[in-house]
Amino acid sequence: MNYWPLLGVAVVVAGFALRANPALVVVVAAIVSALLSGLSIPDLLALLGAKFIDSRNLLVLLLTLPTIGLLEHAGLREHAANWIARMRNFTFAHLLIGYLAVRQILSMFGLTGIAGHAQTVRPLLAPMAEAAAEKIDPDLDLDERVRIRAFAAATDNTGLFFGEDIFIAFGAVLLIYGFYEQNGMVLDPRRIALWAAPTAIAAFVVQSIRAIKFQRRLHTQRDQGRSRE
């Protein structure tokens, strides 16, 4: 067994640790790993080119940018924030838990492309979450705003990851099924999807509790800020 290509992994770890440009680190790691596996330079170039072209689907979010950019220029984020600010009984935790539930349920039915960081989090969820937090504490500083946006992105990821595995036609279930089939074990895909349900419920509960705790922390901070005055 040739263990030398593992040095490509070491390049990634070292590159991220040294805070080198990630795009450069990844390209160097690919070259190192390919060279150490004994590939010639022409084969290496062809491998990089072919695999990069095969992953074009990952940049299609680009097509959402004209719409999002135009709407932001016309005040979409301001309007999303105002809208939440006007709804009195709708709190930060309601917003994030509601979004989490919708995202998880849609993912369960395989509708994963309908939300995402470019489509929904930046233009809608993040400004709404900031507005909901402002209802608790009007004097949010930038550090707190950044934490709120990060939490909104984390909620989207959690909903997506731990919803999609219940969908039978989703890649994960098919990959698991395919792996066993290749090894001579034929399982029922529905059984595999079913075993993803306990973790999906746990993910919903954990992230919801964190949203409630986040909201409580905002309340405490505001109270401390007031008592100092």
């Binding site: 040739n2 263990y3 490509g8 990634v12 440009n21 990630p22 795009a23 990844v26 390209v27 790691a29 070259i31 790993s33 390919a34 590939l39 022409p42 491998l47 080119g49 072919a50 990069f52 072209i53 992953s55 074009r56 940049l59 299609v60 979010l61 097509l63 004209p66 719409t67 135009l70 709407l71 016309a74 005040g75 979409l76 309007h79 105002n82 809208w83 309908i114 960081h117 470019a118 489509q119 809608l124 950044v146 946006r149 990060a150 992105a153 984390a154 997506l160 990851f161 731990f162 595995d165 994960a172 990959l175 792996f179 399982l187 079913l194 075993w195 993803a196 306990p198 993910a203 964190r210």
Partner: protein, 324 residues
């Protein structure tokens, strides 16, 4: 006759990138213009390169490879153009928000709901060979179509010109910078690792390092391997076959008689906990940090650490109690 092809979506991306590259060229930002220009070429010519390769000519693929290396080298030189967010700008946006009100949501919602409707319609439409498209390709095509519709709706609503749409796209793309490219580069790296046998080497080392008679040691090694390998590859799909072949199948199922369906599903979900923790899953963790203008590129990962650790612990318990 199939005239609907997913390539059209890539060509559209290529055209948007050409427009952004020309905009940077006019601003005399040559590193940026070259960067987006190379990427535009890869999107526009990608299919020609692939069909050349199937006809035995690998030269275009090799040129694309050189392009990828050039992208990596230029990435470090990209600097964000100064953003002028002046008080009049903010007042103008607030006034526009008040004037357009709820109508602003319409184009934004056309993207998700348009994608949804087009995806759901796919099985019922029989023109242009839509039925022959795979599910993933059909979703991409639906997303592309919804984005085009949404752009027209946004142009009509805001009375902006096509030129403004390009300027706004360029602004957002500039904020994303090289982070926009990272998902593609990492997918490429994953494929290179798979082609060069990195996965098998890791599985070999793990299996050699653990006491195989202990069920607990095997479960912990399997879970730790899924998380670690997902963190390295940025993708649980890449980790799963490797860890299953190295530890799951021979040790947990073969020797300790684990329940195959439960182990498969829970093993994959354990890998997902790793996805929440790694900068290598760039499209989920690094791209949103850039999109949301967090100053810390690992800000989203930091927000996910508690969720990931809790779910990892819960998954370990589920494997321990239900997979045996």
């Amino acid at each position: 006759m199939t005239f609907l092809r997913v390539e059209y979506v890539y060509w559209l991306c290529g055209l948007v990138l050409v427009a952004c590259a020309l905009r940077e060229l006019r601003a005399k930002r040559f590193a940026h213009a070259t960067f987006w220009g190379i990427l535009a070429a890869i999107f526009l010519l990608g299919d020609a390169v692939k069909s050349a390769a199937t006809h035995g000519s690998v030269l275009p693929q090799q040129l694309a490879g050189i392009g990828v290396i050039a992208l990596g080298l230029i990435a470090g030189f990209l600097r964000r153009a100064p953003v002028a967010d002046s008080v009049p700008d903010r007042e103008r946006r607030a006034a526009s928000a008040a004037r357009l009100g709820r109508r602003l949501f319409v184009p934004a919602l056309i993207i998700p709901f348009g994608t949804l409707v087009f995806t759901l319609l796919q099985p019922f439409v029989h023109v242009g060979g839509i039925g022959e498209l795979g599910r993933a390709d059909a979703t991409l095509l639906a997303l592309g179509l919804a984005c085009v519709l949404a752009t027209f709706a946004a142009l009509a609503l805001t009375r902006a010109r096509a030129h403004d749409a390009i300027a706004e796209t360029g602004r957002l793309l500039d904020a994303l910078s090289w982070a926009a490219l990272l998902p593609m580069l990492l997918a490429m790296l994953g494929a290179v690792f798979a082609a060069t046998g990195v996965g098998e080497a890791i599985a070999h080392l793990t299996a050699a390092a653990i006491p195989v008679q202990s069920r607990l040691a095997c479960v912990l090694a399997f879970a730790a391997g899924m998380v670690a390998f997902t963190v390295i590859m940025g993708n649980a799909f890449a980790a799963f076959p490797v860890m299953m072949a190295g530890v799951g199948l021979p040790l947990l199922i073969g020797q300790h008689h684990a329940h195959a369906a439960a182990l498969g599903a829970l093993g994959m979900l354990t890998g997902y906990c790793g996805t929440l923790l790694t900068p290598m899953a760039a499209n989920f963790n690094i791209v949103p940090a850039a999109l949301l203008e967090l100053r810390d590129p690992n800000g989203v990962i930091r927000a996910q650490v508690p969720t990931a650790l809790w779910l990892l612990a819960i998954n370990l318990l589920l494997i321990w109690f239900f997979a045996f």
